[in-house]
């Protein structure tokens, strides 16, 4: 029989001999591993889901011509085709805007032309009273920002006449929109209508983009756009990027520290069991040393035992963690968290590490003096 077979044979007997104490250590390891696995699953999946959620919070990248002191600088609408031709999968929505200063009666107001199908994708929190404008071909209807509607005395169904220089245009108010932003002071309608009204066909003031991904991925997309649109300013919307980065950073930090705390608690549990086990094994170690067992060879047995315990605890903990993550996802985030198998090796490695650290009292057994243990006199 090879030394390895005998090693495994003794290891198996060791595991069986101290079932009670090892079961306590295994419970501590499994509990720790389950929480770690759940949190890591939640972290990875929640990050993906949160970045999706962030994409409903408005544009996070704006492309505009450099103003050069001229606020009314315009870009060619062909940039929309150039953006599309880059096939950047992370771009969720692309909304061009053309802003024109107009008057409704004697009241000045900003008329904004855009693509409503794209705007609705990136601004799902906008509150709408009345009907929506959904088609890019709708040249009759407009949405009016809540402040502008109050100032102009408009409500859904009423019509609004706008004048810019010699040009006139009228729309039916489909709905009143509350955005919490500049749009509350604007009248929004389709891009084509505004370009025709202003005599600026094929021109846009700016393009808003909703880009999915982590802050780093968004920066990457921004850089790619800037390289391909060198004549334009490509800027991330800092508040959103910063908020996203901060929230994800905080979640990550909370998960990291929670995992660290749980692992320390698990280690203390293992430490307590192993300290008791070490007391029980003093005689065995003394005997093994008397029989010619070197300290490293004896310790290998105990460390393998702890490692095996950690691996089993990590595996069971991972499976329990997947269930726990699903429960957390449904109860707290309202989403289904799927199992991430890259968490399995991490959980097992962490748990084996905790088991080895917790087996410190067994390592102290190397100092046992056989003569004292085996003394018969």
């Amino acid at each position: 029989m090879s030394s390895r077979s005998m090693f495994l044979r003794i290891l198996w007997k060791l595991l069986g001999a101290s079932r009670g104490r090892l079961a306590v250590a295994l419970i501590a390891l499994t509990s720790g591993a389950a929480v770690c696995s759940a949190l890591l699953n939640v972290n990875l999946d929640a990050e993906r889901k949160l970045t999706q959620e962030f994409r409903t919070l408005g544009a996070n990248v704006v492309i505009a011509p450099p103003s050069g002191g001229n606020e009314a600088a315009l870009a060619d609408a062909a940039i929309l085709d150039r953006i599309a031709s880059l096939h950047l999968a992370r771009i969720v929505a692309t909304a061009p805007y053309l802003y024109v200063a107009a008057n409704s009666g004697s009241q000045p107001v900003i008329l904004a032309g855009t693509w409503f199908d794209q705007v609705s994708k990136m601004n799902s929190w906008w509150k709408l009273e009345g009907g929506a404008v959904t088609s890019r071909d709708d040249r009759e209807d407009c949405l009016v920002g809540v402040t502008a509607a109050r100032q102009l005395g408009l409500s859904p169904g009423s019509s609004v006449q706008l004048r810019s220089g010699e040009r006139n245009i009228s729309f039916t108010v489909a709905g009143i929109v509350t955005t919490g932003g500049a749009e509350d002071n604007q009248i929004l309608t389709n891009l084509d209508s505004v370009q025709t009204f202003a005599g600026l066909p094929g021109r846009v003031s700016l393009v808003q983009l909703s880009v999915s991904g982590t802050p780093a991925e968004i920066v990457e997309v921004t850089q790619k756009l800037a390289e391909n649109l060198p004549e334009l300013d490509v800027r991330p919307v800092r508040q959103i990027a910063a908020a996203e980065g901060t929230i994800l950073g905080k979640i990550r930090g909370m998960i990291f520290w929670t995992i660290a705390l749980i692992l320390i608690l698990s280690m203390l549990g293992v430490l307590a069991s192993m300290a008791a086990l070490a007391m029980e094994r003093r005689r065995d170690v003394g005997l093994m040393k008397a029989l010619g067992g070197t300290v490293p060879r004896i310790m290998r047995l105990f460390l393998a035992e702890a490692g095996a315990l950690g691996a089993v605890g990590g595996l069971i903990g991972f499976l329990l963690g997947v269930v726990l993550a699903r429960w957390i996802g449904e109860r707290i985030f309202g989403v289904v968290i799927s199992a991430r198998f890259e968490v399995l090796p991490i959980t097992i490695l962490l748990t084996v590490g905790v088991a080895l650290a917790g087996s410190f009292p067994l390592r102290l057994l190397g100092r046992v003096r056989p003569a004292e243990i085996l003394r018969g006199e």
């Binding site: 090879s2 005998m6 005997l287 029989l291 067992g293 085996l374 003394r375 018969g376």
Partner: protein
Amino acid sequence: MAPVVQVEQLDKRYGDVRALDHISFEVEPGEWIAIMGPSGSGKTTLINILGGLDHPTGGRVVVDGLEIGNLGERELTRYRADKIGFVFQQFHLVPYLTALENVMLAQYFHSITDEKEAEEALRRVGLGDRLDHVPAALSGGEQQRVAIARALINQPKVILADEPTGNLDEANEGIILKLLRELHDAGHTILVVTHSQAIGNLADRRVELEHGRLARIVSPSLAKD
């Protein structure tokens, strides 16, 4: 023939207590030595030093040509695995290993394990039908026989037995004595710490200690003459 054990002016102190005081004697290969004396006379200290389980304070101990007094822990461990077979009063078997595995444990720490050889060693001590029994399922005498099989498995130069019959009834004592005699007849060098006059009388020589000093070395056969 060169002595297998040479003890010269061996001293051992524990603080102010002198456990061994200038002990000197030699053991020839194949000899059976009984180390005797009252409790506290230094018998176990002597056998622990001979077995490499303890360090002498002074003097010289040479076993099979190796001076063990100055060896480090690692060398002493190797020395125990290579040259010494221990038999303890308390048997000291690993409780969760079977009789066979307890014997193989000594092989494992010595070199490689050979299950057939371990089985044969247990058959030699009459435990061929107890291979898979754990110590708790064996009688005291059977446990001590497992310990003897374990002590013999690596063909040690010296067998050190500390009160091997101290925990046994008369019947089992008889079995162990018979085994020791067979080992002696087979040429093994045996040093036995004992209070038993019966074992003392079977030995080639008795090394008698008193208060850590060598009181006398008696050769029972000559004494009988």
